[in-house]
């Protein structure tokens, strides 16, 4: 028998263990991507398949480089949050934490690799 009240025990312990921050963050990312994805397909995607000189030349221009950085970083953040929801739905216990931490690290790592690569090509 616990002397704590039911309300006090439930307080701050909803099923998500947090409020609506995760939902709202994904919503902001998704609206940003509605603009960025078409711009990426117009400004960056045509470089895929070009030869080495063509690719380095393409990404040395400011607009494709900036759109590539923005699209890839926002996409990876959106992916990390979306993947977290997938895992929270289907995997529980230790593996839930392992997979969420692993994918979050992979997404941040891949973003930084992309930013470094584009900065090196652009500058």
């Amino acid at each position: 028998m616990s002397y704590i009240t039911d309300r006090k025990r439930a307080n701050r312990w909803g099923s998500a263990k947090s409020g609506t921050q995760h939902f709202w963050r994904m919503k902001v990312q998704s609206v940003a991507l509605l603009v960025l994805i078409p711009l990426f397909l117009i400004a960056v995607a045509p470089a895929i398949g070009k030869d080495y000189a063509g690719v380095t030349d393409h990404l040395s221009r400011p607009f494709p480089a900036i759109i590539a950085v923005l699209t890839l970083t926002v996409s990876f953040l959106h992916f990390a949050d979306g993947f977290q929801t997938l895992i929270e739905d289907y995997v529980h216990g230790l593996w839930e934490k392992v997979l969420i931490i692993g994918m979050t690290c992979l997404c941040w790592g891949a973003s930084v690799v992309a930013i470094f690569a584009i900065a090196r090509l652009a500058l």
């Binding site: 919503k27 991507l33 895929i48 690719v55 380095t56 997938l86 090509l121």
Partner: protein, 130 residues
């Protein structure tokens, strides 16, 4: 009260007990396409860092990206991208509290599936032919 039956509560009926419907299939596809896009994203990051490294590294990455397998991944990912894009728009509409009745949900579902194929073919032709 809050600690009664913790850990062995009944779960809600899961996917397999329902007959597939347009609304459920379009919802599941949103999740599958979104998560599958990681493959193309990592491939593009590899291609970028290879280009930043030098001609030799680029030749390896470009060889994979422009192989039939790489092109297959990119082409399928382009459909997944448009599907997830339009399904995301549908969620933003729903989040505003509009279109949650069954009739509108079905219309939006057909719009997402149809629109994804239209935009896919359009961008496939533009990106691969030009």
């Amino acid at each position: 009260m809050a600690d009664v039956n913790r850990g062995s509560r009944p779960l809600s009926p899961h996917l397999q007990v329902y007959r597939p419907q347009l609304t459920s299939i379009t919802s599941i596809l949103t999740r599958i396409t979104g998560n599958a896009l990681i493959v193309a994203m990592l491939m593009i990051v590899w291609w970028l860092i290879a280009a930043a490294t030098g001609p030799d590294a680029f030749a390896v990455a470009d060889g994979f990206v422009t192989s039939w397998f790489g092109i297959l991944i990119l082409a399928l990912s382009l459909w997944a991208l448009w599907y997830h894009f339009l399904a995301g728009v549908r969620h933003l509409i729903w989040d505003s509290g509009v279109g949650l009745d069954l009739d509108t949900a079905y219309k939006l579902g057909y719009g997402v599936v149809g629109g994804s194929f239209v935009l896919w073919l359009l961008t496939l032709i533009i990106l691969f032919a030009v």
